[in-house]
Structures are given as structure tokens and as C-alpha cells.
Symmetry: C2
Subunit: 214 residues, 2 copies
């Protein structure tokens, strides 16, 4: 039980701020950042930056700004990024395997996030037993027990829409608390399980709205 009442809109911006700080921290000469600069680099207004961070404590000094290293470590702590998170990915098709390749590289480069992809799952017997980036494909029937035994709390779904709810149920039954869903379907999840949707078609349809606007 932590900062219970903080809205997801706030939580959503914290990784953006952290990304800016990570980038700045690469240059040792950077010690301080103003909310103005942090906002500009994160694409957020400076007042909102100050408001967002104030939910979690007093990180800055008026007229001085935020100490980059300190704010960075605080954001990491708030976002739970100091511990390693085990992840499974369900759906070892073209998107799933590409994400595996892409993200394994990204995860390794990212100092501020220890994410460990420990298993791929698929219902296709031809795919079971394959390896991608050194990670094995297991049968979908083993998903729930695997997740439970390995205490996996995060799952990524890249199966077709018709299978996504079933996969989500298995993940949740095994103890998963957070799901990143690529399938073009709204999942029905119990309270307390957090969902992030990565349905690209939805995003593209949203973008289409703005195209004819002048």
C-alpha cells in the first residue's frame, strides 16, 4: 500500500521524467535541472512537473531546481525499478519474437530498469521448444504454473484477439499483476491487475482523427 490516490495520469509521466534524467546523467557536468527544462525535455508543462513530483515528496529547491542524481534515484524507487522484474511473453509469432529481439537489447542497455524476460509461450506445438535470444518457448498449458512457480508479476500478450482473454486469465490466475496487451481487444481484468494497451491500430485510428484538422 503506497501512494494510493495518485492518478495513473501522474504515474504515466514519471517514466518520461526518468528518461530525461537518465539522458542528462550521462554527462557528469549536469547536476541540476529546473522544472522548466525538465518539462520541456519531457514534453510537459513546468507547473505540471512540479505538481506531479510534489505527490511523492519534496525533491527540489525553489530557484535552484532538482538535483539530477537524487531525483533519478527517487523516481527509480517510486517506480519500483530497483528490483528485477521477471516477465513472460505469450505469443511467439512474428510480433512476439521481434519484440523479444528488440526489447532484450533495450532492456540490457537500460541502466534504470532490470527486466528479465524468462519465458516465451505459444499454443503452436511447432513453436514450442524453439529459442529466441536464448529464451525458450514453452507450451501455453504450462503458463499458469510457470508464472506461479517463478513469481512472475508482468506479462506481455501478443496472441490474436480471440485468444487474448484466455491468456490474460491464465496470467492472472498465476499471479501476474500487470499486463502489456498488444491484442486488439479490451481485456476484462480483476481489480488490482494493471493493464497497458499497445494496440497500434487504436493509436493509428486516433491519429487519423487529427489528419484533416487544419
Amino acid at each position: 500500500m503506497r501512494w494510493r490516490k495518485i492518478s495513473d495520469a501522474v504515474v504515466r509521466r514519471l517514466p518520461l521524467y526518468l528518461r530525461v534524467l537518465d539522458e542528462l546523467a550521462k554527462d557528469e557536468n549536469n547536476n541540476l535541472i529546473s522544472s522548466q527544462e525538465l518539462g520541456e525535455k519531457a514534453g510537459v508543462g513546468p507547473a505540471l512537473v512540479r505538481k506531479d513530483l510534489a505527490w511523492f515528496g519534496e525533491f527540489g529547491k525553489q530557484g535552484v531546481g532538482y538535483e539530477i542524481d537524487y531525483l533519478r534515484s527517487e523516481l527509480r524507487r517510486i517506480l519500483n525499478l530497483d528490483s528485477t522484474h521477471k516477465v513472460v511473453l505469450v505469443g511467439a509469432g512474428s510480433l512476439g519474437t521481434a519484440l523479444t529481439r528488440y526489447n532484450m537489447r533495450r532492456f540490457q542497455e537500460d541502466e534504470s530498469f532490470t527486466l528479465e524476460l524468462i519465458g516465451l509461450f505459444d499454443s503452436d506445438p511447432d513453436k514450442v521448444g524453439q529459442e529466441h535470444e536464448g529464451i525458450k518457448v514453452y507450451p501455453i498449458t504450462e503458463l499458469e504454473s510457470f508464472v506461479r512457480e517463478n513469481e512472475v508479476k508482468m506479462g506481455i500478450i501478443t496472441v490474436p484477439a480471440s485468444d487474448a482473454q484466455d491468456v490474460a486469465n491464465r496470467l492472472v490466475n498465476g499471479g501476474v499483476r500487470a499486463i502489456l496487451n498488444f491484442a486488439p481487444v479490451t481485456l476484462d481484468l480483476p481489480e488490482g491487475v494493471q493493464l497497458a494497451s499497445a494496440d497500434l491500430t487504436l493509436e493509428l485510428k486516433r491519429l487519423a482523427y487529427y489528419i484533416n484538422e487544419v
Copy 2:
């Protein structure tokens, strides 16, 4: 110039409603839907459904609900989905080509959205000239002129973070109005160009926040 003051939070939910209606329309026996049911299926409260739709007109009748076919065609019109949208994808690496395969199939199956991926672009001479799903890879140097000549308004960026701003500039200079960005960087775009971020690491970091919460 259309519904100028409508917030993106509203626009963002319209494709969700449309997805529900598309699904329901597959069964000819479905004629009407209540805001309650539409909300449940879209994962949105019924009052918010009514409020969102009211921005664009009177689509439902109190005590009766919404006519599925009518609301569906209205949402399509509002979202600009009746016209074909040409798209380019920049970055023909593993993620870019997987998205090409995945989305080409999705786009073809999706009756309510005519999206035409007409070109891939990459800076790697070895990739230029390749074809993925019948779509050719062009050199990045031709991006701006290609976009202008073909009146492309949407672009997808799957290049490394260090190249993303340069790619975005080329797209915008060529006339692109909407960008779906997979690169882990905040893009600086002129007003009037709409951005959707598909930075999966950001989403995963957000999810991490919720994992230890009980």
C-alpha cells in the same frame, strides 16, 4: 477545422467504442446497444460514453440506446476513417519489419480502416531495395520528397533514439501530420503535428509502479 476544443482524452476513446461496434456488427441480430453495454465492453463508464459521444452530436435515444450501424458509420466519419490513409514506416530493422508483417495483415482484416503502407525507409544501404510484404525499402535521403510527392500524412518511426528526431523532421518537412513513435525519446514537433508514443519501455516502467502495490 472541426471540433476544435475536444480533448485528446475523448478522441482516444472513440476508436475503443468503434472496436466494440465493429465486433457487434458482425452479428446481424445486433441492432441497438445501450451506453451501459458499450461502456462495459470498452472498459469505460456509461456516463463517460454518453458524455464523449455528446461532443459530436445526438447519436442515441434515451431508454433505447444507440443504433449500432449508425453510430459506427458516424464514428468512422468523425475519426476520418472513410478515406484511405497512406503511411510510411522508417526503420526497417527487426521491429519495423515485424510491424509491417503484423499490421499489413491487421489492416487488411480491418473493414473500418483503410491504411495503406506505401513505403519503408532505412539509412542502411544493405536494407535499401529489400521488400517486406511487397513493400519496398527506400533510402532515408528520399524520405522527405517521397512523403511530399505521395501526400503521405502519417508516419511510423522505428529507428534508434538517436535518429528519431532527424527522421521526424524529415517527415514533418514532407507534410506528415501524425507520427507513431516507437523510439525511446520525446520528439520535438511543431504545433499541429500529432504524436502517439509507442515506447514499450515507458509502458513497462509504468506497470512496474503497480506491481508492489497491494
